[in-house]
């Protein structure tokens, strides 16, 4: 498409034209996405809210409206503070691990080297595996203190194997989750590095900037927005970690690895208490909103 010169219209007309343009343009473009998500948000939310005020157990005849009963029962659970703490701990630990390694790997894979294409696919491989299967592979084939691979390795060195799920359950879960999600971060950041202005890098190099300076002053700022995106997306996923816990520690020992989704599952869904599960769901939304609020302050600027 060739660029042709236009004489700009008179100022007043131009502003009006632009405003009209904006109004006409964005609404139909946004409408499908906004519309779909609106429905997807409102319908389940309304239903869940409604159920949270009902005494509805799947196995018993419905009890009808019970007011705040479900919420009181939820909030007076002595284990709740630990559950919330666990949820946040998982998010923070997994975020820092995945983003830290993700950045390093993305930078490493940005520059070509021998066989980079294959190596890149291998680095992303963990994300292809289903979370349940990942957790089972780590639990039984790798981390098991009797017939797992790690145990065999440490025994060969004469060290007693670590009993991961008894002594370090939270760390074990974070390791599994991080391993699954580092590829996600790596891929997003690596793709974003594609649009890094190489001329700028070349100019900096000619000015005498070493690799670290280039990294901190050019690469990292360029990655600011994708990192913000990754943080927000991963936070959502990590807040709702469920499959890995179900299959390895089952929330234990004690409540050590019980997070909010697992708590909802084991207290409410297992007891078929839809009212309780709904109250739990609303509670999870509140916590997520609080977390998002904190992130928004620091990260929204980057978007």
């Amino acid at each position: 498409m060739k660029i042709e010169a236009h004489s700009p219209p008179p100022p007043g007309v131009q502003r009006g034209w632009l405003k009209q343009q904006r109004r006409v343009r964005t609404w139909p473009l946004m409408a499908p996405a906004v519309g779909l998500l609106l429905v997807w948000m409102i319908v389940p939310l309304v239903l869940t809210l409604w159920y949270s005020f009902q005494g509805y157990n799947l196995l018993s005849p419905p009890q009808g409206f019970v007011g705040l009963d479900n919420y009181v029962y939820l909030l007076t659970d002595p284990g709740l503070p630990q559950v919330v703490w666990n949820t946040l701990a998982i998010v923070v630990l997994a975020l820092s691990t995945t983003i830290g390694f993700g950045i390093l790997f993305a930078v490493l894979y940005d520059q070509p080297f021998l066989g980079r294409g294959v190596a890149r696919l291998l680095v992303i491989a963990p994300f292809f595996v289903m979370p349940t299967v990942s957790a089972l592979v780590w639990k039984n084939l790798l981390m098991h203190p009797v017939y797992g691979l790690f145990a065999w390795v440490s025994r060969s060195f004469g060290i007693a194997p670590i009993d991961w799920f008894a002594d370090h359950p939270m760390m074990a879960i974070v390791i599994i989750i991080s391993w699954e999600w580092i590829p996600f971060v790596t891929l997003i950041l690596l793709t974003s590095l594609q649009s890094l202005d190489r001329d700028q890098v070349e100019a900096a190099r000619m000015d005498g900037a070493g690799p670290f300076a280039t990294f901190f002053f050019i690469t990292l700022p360029h990655l600011g927005r994708p990192i913000a995106v990754v943080v927000m997306l991963e936070t959502i996923f990590f807040l709702s970690v469920y499959a890995e816990i179900l299959v390895t520690t089952v929330g234990g020992p004690g409540l050590e690895t019980t997070n909010i989704p697992f708590y909802i599952y084991s207290r409410a869904l297992l007891a078929y208490d839809v009212g309780g599960a709904s109250a739990g769901g609303i509670f999870a939304i509140v916590i997520a909103n609080i977390v998002a609020f904190f992130f928004v302050r620091s990260i929204a600027r980057q978007l």
């Binding site: 060739k2 660029i3 904006r22 473009l29 946004m30 499908p32 996405a33 779909l36 998500l37 997807w40 948000m41 319908v43 389940p44 939310l45 869940t48 159920y51 894979y109 520059q111 021998l114 066989g115 190596a119 890149r120 291998l122 680095v123 292809f128 595996v129 289903m130 979370p131 349940t132 990942s134 089972l136 592979v137 084939l141 790798l142 017939y147 691979l149 065999w152 891929l187 997003i188 690596l190 793709t191 649009s195 202005d197 927005r225 995106v229 927000m232 997306l233 959502i236 807040l239 709702s240 469920y242 989704p261 909802i264 869904l269 599960a277 997520a288 909103n289 998002a292 928004v296 978007l303």
Partner: protein, 273 residues
Amino acid sequence: MRPSTRWLIVRTILGWLVALVMAFPVFWMALAAFKTELDAIASPPLLFFTPTLENFAEMNERVDYIAHAWNSIAVAFFSTAVAILVAAPAAYSMAFHPTRRTKDILLWMLSTKFMPAVGVLVPIYLILIWAGLLDTRTGLIIITLMANLPLIIWMLYSYFKEVPGEILEASRMDGAKPLQQLVHLLIPMAAPGVASTALLAIILSWNESFWCINVTAVNSGTLALAIASFSNPEGFFWAKLSAASLASIAPIMVFGWLTQRQLVRGLTFGAVK
């Protein structure tokens, strides 16, 4: 040795080390797929063993692999395609014509994912019953689409923001409508980003197991359901599970390899200047 060659060697070694460490558990699982159950949990772990195809044979006996794979492909493809069709215009609009509300809208879209699936299972199940969508591909496509839409919008937004606005502005001056700009200019320029987004969305949809297990039965189960049928608290299953998992990963690995080729450097934006 020139410093750049030294760097190349260091990067090659590091790059491969990282790749092998990250891929090792997958490799170990792939190995287990060809072992007998006893071999799979043998201690010390076996690197060399007599391989067998019995796990794959058993898997095919128990679940109809083709039917499940077809459902997986259909659900992943349609939900991602529709999502991108819906998300791209929205992301374009937010990236190049932002308003004061754009950031709020972005955050609101993400907030639709705040509710954990376990909390909303029964209400959704009831809706599906009412709509007659239980155990249908359509039902699963809709759910997957909605679940992934915020993700896709955010990612496309992020990649679109990296495309310099001048080129689009220039074409607008030439009279190009937004959709034309989007399709003919933006998407080709942001091709690596769109490809990555599509890949990640397809993987998430492929591996989506909670909804799949809970709203499908015998007609629309995906490979995630087939895999779930191998995890068992009463009897050895790790070799069979590994085999089922490997059979499930294979198609998307191939797809991933193909889209990876998109990650070669696109048009350099220095040319704009």
